[in-house]
């Protein structure tokens, strides 16, 4: 099973080797898609692969260490009323989460493919994209 999660942690939690423990203690494959740490804490976007049970235990482990865990679906949001379907975002999206559907002429947003890198945010002329993490 594979899942993408967004982590928010305090500066204290940043001192705990959480990714190491996810790998070593919970037998998960961890792909770090995005990581940022500053004086007020950190954010990380991880792709976790492993057994469903191990993933659940891994997420419980993170939560018990004061790390906020949210599904990636809550990483980037598109305001459907604002999007004009121009397509500016399509060529800069590294995972093709934003893609052009030539049949409908619309830009599709597949949240499962999004890694919340944020490259689309300031590229969107009508400002339809919002990053929540």
């Amino acid at each position: 099973l594979k899942t993408k999660v967004v982590l928010n942690f305090s500066p204290e939690a940043a001192n705990t080797p959480i990714t190491h423990n996810l790998i070593a203690k919970h037998h998960l494959l961890v792909n770090i898609l995005r990581a940022e740490i500053d004086e007020i804490g950190g954010k990380m976007v991880l792709e976790l692969s492993g057994k469903a049970d191990d993933i659940r235990k891994g997420i419980d482990y993170l939560k018990s260490n004061g790390v906020g865990v949210r599904p990636i679906k809550e990483g980037v949001r598109r305001d459907e009323d604002i999007c004009t379907h121009c397509g500016m975002c399509v060529s800069i999206c590294p995972t093709k989460a934003l893609a052009f559907d030539s049949k409908t002429g619309k830009v599709t947003f597949t949240e499962e493919k999004c890694v919340a890198c944020g490259v689309c945010i300031d590229a969107c002329p009508p400002r339809a994209m919002e990053i929540l993490i």
């Binding site: 004009t84 379907h85 121009c86 500016m88 060529s91 009508p126």
Partner: protein
Amino acid sequence: VSKSYDEIRKKTMNGDVVVMTAQEFKEYVKANGVKKAAKDVDIVTTGTFGAMCSSGAYFNFGHSDPPIKMQKVWMDGIPAYAGLAAVDAYLGATELDDTNNMMHGGAHVIEDLVRGKAVRLKATAYGTDCYPKKEIDTYVSLKTVNQAVLLNVRNCYQNYAVATNSGSRTLYTYMGKLLPEYGNATYSSAGELSPLLNDPYYRSIGIGTRIFLGGAQGFVIWEGTQFNPGVPRTPAGVPKRAAGSIAVIGDLKQMSSEFLRGLTFTRYGTSLGLGIGIPIPILDEEMARACAITDDQIVTAMFDYSQPARSRTVLKEITYAELRSGEIELKGKHIPTSSLSSLYKARQISQILKSQIQKGEFMMERPVQSLPMDRVFKALDVRTEKEAM
């Protein structure tokens, strides 16, 4: 076959005019040939929705008591040009406040008004015997002003460049975000749906042409600024570079935010996202042939925007079919492409225009004067007074 404007207008009034969107017409020609299409179809509707920077709106606010001769005007903090009569002002789409906040420029204020919002109006003046008031701070909306008119000096470009970036850093341009090392390429024409690409020599689009403008009806009032019909063309006569453009006018009070949007191009500025649709009468086979053009027959040129020069060298000529495929090839590299103009909205506009004509709500006009074919695109050089004469 040959049809006159009068015949087509009469058919429109009788309700038996045959209208197709540009997309439908191209398919019809493919299936039935140009001859039959020219005979069967009266009007083809085109459409585009894109960033059109040379746009703005003028207002007449009405007179205060005591009256003021507004010298400086701000609408929601954005300066408007007031060097006109007492309470007239023009707000440009790309105008910013004095902090250069690009999230909210003139275009956004125009959109807010169209959405029915009230906008804070501030004005200052030096005061005269006939206009004693020296400042005013109030709110206006489309309900309170006398006139609110969209007046754009260059819209609806006939073809445009493709932008890419060979440099090592991301560029923020009016063509959007350009990733380094040819990371992407952006283009901005609606291609085969674009009004002026379906009428390459401006036979039917001229001064007085009635158009769909921002959801309302407007008119072509002049050639657009930088009108440049003399660029290289394909054998079919379609310009391969930015060529013609139009100046347009329409009642802002009738427009809709669905087809009029404030846009932000990061670190460049603001622009107006605007929808324009133009009906093209199929007067004869030549018009039908022009409207039959498809994306694979429309060529444009790609330029390297990291070259900070007035005339950049052409990297490659490409068709809109290649651009629309999502990826183009340059020097063995595959470059993902992005459109800056909305195909979805372009189709929507051509569809709306078609149904308005069918219902007799939109009457196609014969232009009262053609656009000039002899214009050239001159540059601005630093010159002496004598050299400028």
